[in-house]
């Protein structure tokens, strides 16, 4: 059974087809990248898959279940997690608390136990805390655990967001430009982290502008332009595809050729 299958997904904003009839599949442990020029509809596509936008057409199927337009918290229960292009960090919480929040589904329990600080509540908190500390060590943020997240550098916050998403132990992880705004060293670290996560069996769906990184780590690439899928395949195939080259260089005929 396919892990994640996107079938004919589309959405219209005020008459404009932001994404139109996009289909692809993601298997366990695979890194699938979605690329395309600015405004091609990559983030919109992510927002539809992760339940933030209601698709106007098509289906999203996760582990055989139709999850089209399902609320993000319900998708989280079914093993889908994501990060955001414009960081969504809990700024006023500590780095550790941000990571712990990724364990929400495992640590939550009866409110009354939490209000009265019952042993069961303390145990759930402690287990989540231990898991979070291990994850922070994995992304190199363990020494910043007690700092307020809002004070961290951009690159660190990017890694924190990935740690929080990994805390859910997702079956599929959507990463929206994880390396944007990071320097070369940070990009390489994120690069390694993604490969490692994929090797452990988690499927990665990636939007990224750093083409070197995309070509290096992807198993499969989906190319969008003006909301439509113009090409799909292994990195080597896609980079030779005339329609793709045209889309990036902006040649009219090239885009029509595949069109």
């Amino acid at each position: 059974m396919t892990l994640l299958s996107v079938e004919g997904l589309g959405i219209t904003f005020g008459g404009l087809k932001a994404v139109n009839d996009v289909s692809f599949k993601v298997e366990p442990g695979e890194i699938v990248s979605v690329i395309g020029p600015n405004g091609a509809g990559k983030t919109t596509l992510f927002n539809m898959i992760s339940g933030i936008y209601q698709p106007g057409a098509g289906r999203v199927v996760l582990k055989g279940e139709d999850v089209t337009g399902m609320r993000p918290d319900l998708l989280a229960r079914r093993g889908m997690s994501r990060t955001f292009q414009n960081l969504q960090i809990f700024q006023a919480m500590t780095v550790l608390e941000n990571a712990i929040s990724g364990f929400h589904l495992r640590e939550k329990g009866p409110v009354l136990a939490d209000l009265l600080n019952l042993p069961a509540s303390r145990r759930r908190s402690r287990e989540a805390r231990e898991g979070a500390l291990a994850l922070l060590a994995r992304v190199g943020l363990d020494r910043a655990a007690d700092r307020e997240a809002g004070n961290l550098s951009y690159g660190s916050l990017k890694r924190l967001e990935i740690a929080r998403a990994l805390a859910m132990n997702p079956a599929v992880l959507l990463l929206d430009e994880p390396a944007a705004g990071c320097n070369a060293v940070e990009t390489e670290e994120i690069d390694h982290l993604i490969a490692e996560v994929a090797a452990s069996g988690t499927a990665i769906l990636l939007v990224e502008h750093d083409m070197k990184m995309v070509m290096r780590i992807s198993n499969h690439i989906v190319v969008l332009d003006h909301g439509e899928k113009i090409a799909e395949g292994a990195p080597a195939e896609v980079s030779r595809n005339p329609a793709v080259i045209a889309a990036y260089l902006g040649t009219e005929e090239g885009a029509d050729a595949d069109g």
Partner: protein, 319 residues
């Protein structure tokens, strides 16, 4: 020396203040002022959970205080309940009502939510004002004695009325603060603070945002309700003013002024805003003017609230 957790430190400071301040009271009157601060502090601790943790605003929480207060007036006479059980009944009614009202209105955000909660508060105040046969209308209604002071006397602990309510309200406030601090460090509290920070990110880690907002709303309603009950029992009398719009505004202002994010800060805010009007009475007709000015200045220069700002200054600029 083992480091004291923020929770223990807050509770210790609070307990010490409650225990030690009476030694400096020039007269018995101050026990009454102290008890008033504690009751306000309790209501405001509920606001900390709703506003400081979860980032949701309510301008109608006095409505729940009204329900708690009138439960103590009506349940003993009409249902034959002991006043202490009337407090529990009031809290239960407030919780159910908060759940029913919160479900539709907590979908709203920012000022829409503020106006919707405002409407709820006004509704409760109107019912209390107009159902004269039951509530006595705007003139108010008598509330039976709690009876605990007499019980303590039988056990050999003799307190004046002022002293009794001072220590009783102080203990309830401590319990309320303990619960709010437990919540802060618990899975539920983290989820509330997470949805405050970024609702969309909270959703993606699996937080059922609607459900958690509702939980915070219900919990804070219970705080307001118990505070309202304590006011009624202490005064042995209650008027619809307890549910009035001004009381709702007062709660939010106390929390924000003191620092809505921290329990101790909000209680500090309750103390300042309870004491300030008393201290400013020397200014006669300028009292409200100065009060308003102080509030504006605090918000402009100490936006995190009085206590957090002061603590930061004390720790120095190192942070």
């Amino acid at each position: 020396m083992p480091k004291l957790s923020a929770k223990s430190a807050t509770l210790l400071v609070l307990a010490a203040l409650i225990a030690v301040t009476p030694f400096f009271f020039p007269s018995g009157y101050y026990y009454r002022v102290g008890a008033l601060i504690f009751v306000n502090g309790l209501a405001v601790t509920g606001i900390v959970i709703l506003t400081g943790y979860a980032g949701q605003i309510s301008l109608g929480h006095a409505g729940f205080a009204g329900i708690g207060g009138y439960a103590c007036a009506l349940a003993p006479t009409h249902l034959g309940l002991h006043p202490s059980l009337a407090v529990v009944l009031g809290a239960a009614i407030s919780a159910v009502l908060a759940w029913l009202v919160g479900r539709p209105i907590l979908r709203l955000k920012g000022y829409y939510l503020a106006v919707a909660t405002l409407g709820f508060g006004i509704l409760v105040a109107m019912v209390l004002n107009n159902e004269r046969a039951l509530t006595g209308g705007p003139d108010g209604i008598a509330v039976p004695d709690l009876g605990l002071r007499g019980l303590l006397k039988d056990w050999g602990l003799e307190l004046t009325n002022g002293q009794f309510w001072y220590f009783f309200c102080g203990l309830v406030l401590l319990a309320g603060a303990w619960i709010a601090l437990n919540l802060h460090q618990s899975p539920t509290g983290r989820a509330l603070r997470a949805l405050h920070g970024s609702e969309i990110a909270a959703r993606t880690v699996g937080v059922d945002v609607a459900r958690l907002k509702l939980q915070a709303f219900v919990i804070s309603a219970v705080y307001a309700s118990v505070a309202g009950s304590l006011v009624a029992l202490q005064n042995k009398f209650i008027t619809p003013d307890v549910a009035g719009f001004m009381h709702s505004i007062e709660m939010v202002t106390m929390a924000v002024l003191g620092g809505a994010g921290s329990v101790l800060g909000a209680i500090f805010g309750a103390g300042v805003l309870t004491l300030l009007p008393q201290a400013l009475t020397v200014l006669a007709e300028y009292e409200q003017l100065v009060l308003g000015l102080v509030m504006m200045l605090v918000m402009i220069f100490l936006r995190d609230g009085l206590l957090p700002s002061i603590l930061r200054k004390l720790r120095g600029t190192g942070e």
